[in-house]
């Protein structure tokens, strides 16, 4: 374990904006991709169900 306190961990040695910004952008983009994809999947499965009747 590298950290002595929570605030030290959050400060990232003064690089907080850059480090947390990078991690935020990365996982934010992945989350947005999954959400968009999920809504597309729901739309198409709905359409297919209606078509089947």
């Amino acid at each position: 374990m590298q950290w002595h306190s929570m605030s030290e961990f959050l400060a990232m040695g003064g690089y907080a904006f850059y480090v947390w910004g990078s991690f935020g952008v990365t996982f934010g983009c992945m989350l947005i991709e999954m959400l968009l994809l999920n809504s597309r999947r729901q739309r198409i499965t709905q359409a297919v169900k209606q078509e089947a009747f």
Binding site: G13, Y18, T26, C29, E33, V48
Partner: protein
Amino acid sequence: MKNIDIKSNMQTSKFNWLQYASPKIFYPLAGKLIPWCLAGAAILIAYGLYLGLFVAPTDFQQGEGYRIIFVHVPAAWFSMFLYLLMALYAGLGIVLNARLSYMMATAIAPTGAMFTLVALVTGSLWGKPMWGAWWVWDARLTSELILLFLYIGYFSLQAAIDDKSRADKASAVLALVGAINVPIIYFSVKWWNTLHQGASVSLMNAPAMAAVMLKGMLVMAIGFWLYSIAVILIRVRCEILERDSKAAMFRQD
């Protein structure tokens, strides 16, 4: 209009690898793989974050700022790798005239573009404090930006042509031609003077990283790989449904 019986179809044909090239066989198979890949991705990314943020030590040059490497490098690897995979499927589509190949290429592109964007943005966030600039026009950064334009060009070409099979072929040609950019990105730091440093991890040389740091980065990369597989399979299933739903080939869950 009712379902063609998939089960009897599978039993009558003897074991044949080519059957997986058929969307109606591939669709349920992909559906079975997705949850495993998603679970694996979640576990590995969580473990990678733990290694990268808690276990890996400070860097001697960059202090804590270097921790951006744990997302930047895997994202950059997959921006290039997914492009090659997309070009491969596009090429297979042309050679075999296989629709599923084209659909795979189409499904890979958005994830590849997303990782390219992530690599560029995290790189920028890393460049500012360490180099002193958000962006420089060196060969590595410029060629990675061109990669993003190639992905965008690929989607827009597909969207611009109404006839699906023509759109598939035209965009496949673009994907194949653009593949030349990937080795340019990869070797740019070797071939030219760039601000971007050389590769820390390569096949030929021993990694220029402490073992724990390397482990964190590789775990994260495998996590991103599983994530990519899951997302691409979900997308290719959407693609199959959107293109073929009128043929009523699929049973409902």
